[in-house]
């Protein structure tokens, strides 16, 4: 195994690291014996968590003073690299803030970034895997110049597995002077309500799309999700139409889900939706268009009207 370090952006969320961050720390252990996590906020309190998943060092950027993380966190990482500690690669979760950090870091260091990776192996050098054209092709790529290369990795590409390691050594990594680039400030957070399990964690996900016809029909999706103890999701089309909040969106720019079963209702199966759910163990699709691409990946496809099939399904589930 290579001893050149791998760094992982470990995003803090609700008193822990995001699941994707832990997936990347776990996977980094298979690529290097030296894994460091980079975090911010109250970073020091995560030394045990970082160590438990295999990081030996935890770089703490500290409090961001309400700034969006992209600029200060990228500056802190760039500072560490410029002071001589260059890792082999920096792995970054494909989240809103992660993508900001990746772009800023790439431009600051003048280093390339490979995005939407779903795999990363060591094959005489790091090789990334990227599904393209709706997942029909897999592109393998590598960095061809001086590192560190920056890799943005999609959620659920790897398993999050504790290694039982000792708490990581915390090293403070302040961002330094930032100037005008750091002027974007968070004035308020708005959390959109939900009942039931989180979309990414749910064993059953019921999603609705444009085929529902109108916003009121989404109530059927929520009712079904409730009856199946699952979470309600949505395609980008109805999120953009303002029917449901962004936090429900499954797909390229939304959440990646891998439930035991995914029920796609009135969703045709656009590429950008499929990449967010095709890893589901089982897929059931209901759509009135027999040629909808979603049927190509569905284990059970029902060619029919969601306004007939879903009410009948709700009745049957209620009667159980």
């Amino acid at each position: 195994m290579d001893s050149a370090p791998i760094w992982v952006l470990a995003e803090p969320a609700e008193g822990a690291f995001t699941t994707t961050s832990l997936e990347l720390v776990s996977h980094a252990r298979t690529l290097s014996s030296e894994v460091a996590a980079v975090t911010w906020g109250a970073g020091g309190q995560f030394a045990a968590l970082a160590g438990e998943y295999g990081a030996t060092t935890l770089y703490d950027v500290g409090d961001l003073g309400g700034a969006l993380p992209g600029v200060p966190v990228a500056a802190a990482i760039a500072g560490l690299v410029e002071r001589g500690g260059a890792p082999r690669a920096v792995l970054i979760p494909a989240s809103y803030d992660g993508r900001d950090v990746a772009g800023r870091l790439s431009a600051r260091l003048d280093r390339p970034v490979l995005t939407n990776a779903t795999g990363l192996v060591d094959d005489g050098g790091l090789v990334t895997e990227h599904p393209v054209f709706g997942g029909s092709l897999l592109v393998r790529a590598r960095f061809s110049a001086e590192g560190p290369g920056i890799v943005v990795v999609r959620a659920k590409s790897f398993a999050a597995e504790p290694s039982g390691g000792a708490p990581a050594t915390v090293v403070t990594a302040p961002p330094g002077e930032l100037g005008a680039t750091n002027a974007a400030t968070i004035a308020a957070h708005h959390v959109e309500g939900r009942t039931g399990p989180q979309l990414e964690e749910a064993a059953v996900v019921v999603s609705g799309g444009r085929g529902l016809g109108e916003v009121g029909a989404y109530a059927m999706i929520e009712e079904l999700a409730g009856l199946l103890h699952g979470a309600a999701g949505a395609s980008r089309a109805i999120v953009d139409a303002g029917w449901v909040p962004y936090s429900r969106q499954v797909g390229q720019t939304g959440k990646t889900v891998k439930p035991t079963v995914y029920l796609a209702c009135g969703i045709s199966g656009a590429t950008q939706h499929m990449v967010g759910m095709k890893g589901s163990k089982n897929i059931v699709a209901v759509n009135k268009d027999p040629d909808a691409p979603i049927f190509q990946i569905a284990d059970l496809g029902i060619v029919g009207d969601v306004h007939k099939v879903l009410p009948a399904l709700i009745e049957r589930l209620k009667a159980r």
Binding site: A13, L68, G70, V71, Y96, R99, D100, G103, R104, S106, A107, D110, R111, P112, T115, L137, R140, R142, F143, S144, A145, V152, T181, N182, T185, I186, A187, A188, H189, H190, V191, E192, R236, D240, G242, P245, Y246, S247, K255, T260, L263, K281, N282, V284, P290, F295, Q296, A298, D299, L300, G301, D305, K308, V309, L310, A312, E315, R316, L317, R320
Partner: protein, 257 residues
């Protein structure tokens, strides 16, 4: 208020996609304005209207022989366009694209730069933030609402849990989602007017860029392209009143029920 919108001409996403001999996306067919960019153009037009004056310009890197896509942004109402086109740019990665656009944008004063969160063909999604860093600008990505009050930008930015209210002073860069505004359709008058609006074509030499561009400047290489493990389609039934029953039976078979 002067706003620059980054736009991209892409192969029609509804047509089958393929790679060319250099493992780049085949762009030899007809190109159209990326639908994802129409939201930024519309947002810019509305913000300039609200500010009571100013100009919307669009900037693009790519073909200068087929500029129908850029003209559609002009037909929506943008005042002028700059297209950076150069054979040497073929195969450019996202960072090189950002360097090229930064150099083109920096030639004129501006208050705000808008871009889509990601293009609909490459999906890289890092270019806007790279561009902001190169231009020395603050950035707010994934905007679902944008307003300008005086010289302050107010943006609702998507988050995993909902959204954040984020502010920044101008000048700045904002990447907008498809939910930010409803793009207008170009009117016949707009389409006719677009034909005579200024469209400057620049080459790499006009921008004074340091370092190689295009495939020579890209620092990523494709190792292989293979068919992905296909997920097999299962059963498909036309609903004859038994659809719900079949779903229940399936859920029982996988022990979800």
């Amino acid at each position: 208020m002067d706003i620059v919108v980054c736009v991209k001409q892409i192969p029609d996403p509804a047509a089958p996609q393929s790679f060319d001999g250099s493992n780049n996306l085949d762009r030899s067919g007809k190109l159209i304005l990326d639908e994802a960019d129409t939201y930024g153009v519309e947002m810019a037009l509305q913000l300039v209207d609200a500010a009571g004056g100013g100009e919307v310009s669009v900037v693009s890197m790519g073909s200068a022989t087929d500029v129908a896509g850029v003209r559609s942004a002009l037909a929506m109402g943008a005042a002028r366009a700059t297209v950076v086109s150069d054979e040497s740019l073929r195969g450019s990665d996202a960072l090189t694209t950002a360097k090229v656009l930064a150099a083109a944008i920096a030639r004129h004063p501006f208050d705000l730069v808008l871009a889509a969160t990601e293009s609909s063909d490459g999906y890289t999604g890092t270019m806007p933030v790279q561009l902001a860093e190169l231009l020395g600008l603050a950035s707010i990505t994934f905007a679902k609402s944008v307003a300008v009050e005086g010289s302050t930008l107010r943006v609702q930015r998507q988050t995993e849990l909902g959204y954040d209210e984020v502010t920044a002073p101008l000048p700045a860069l904002v990447s907008v989602t498809a939910g930010v505004v409803e793009p207008r359709y170009a009117s016949f008058k707009g389409i006719m007017a677009a034909k005579s609006k200024p469209l400057d074509v620049l080459g790499v030499a006009d921008l004074g860029l340091a370092g190689p561009v295009g495939a020579a400047g890209a620092r990523e290489a494709v190792v292989a392209i293979d068919a992905a493990e296909a997920r097999q389609a299962g059963e498909k039934h036309v609903d004859e009143g038994d659809g719900a029953e079949r779903i229940v039976a399936f859920l029982e078979s996988i022990k979800v029920l």
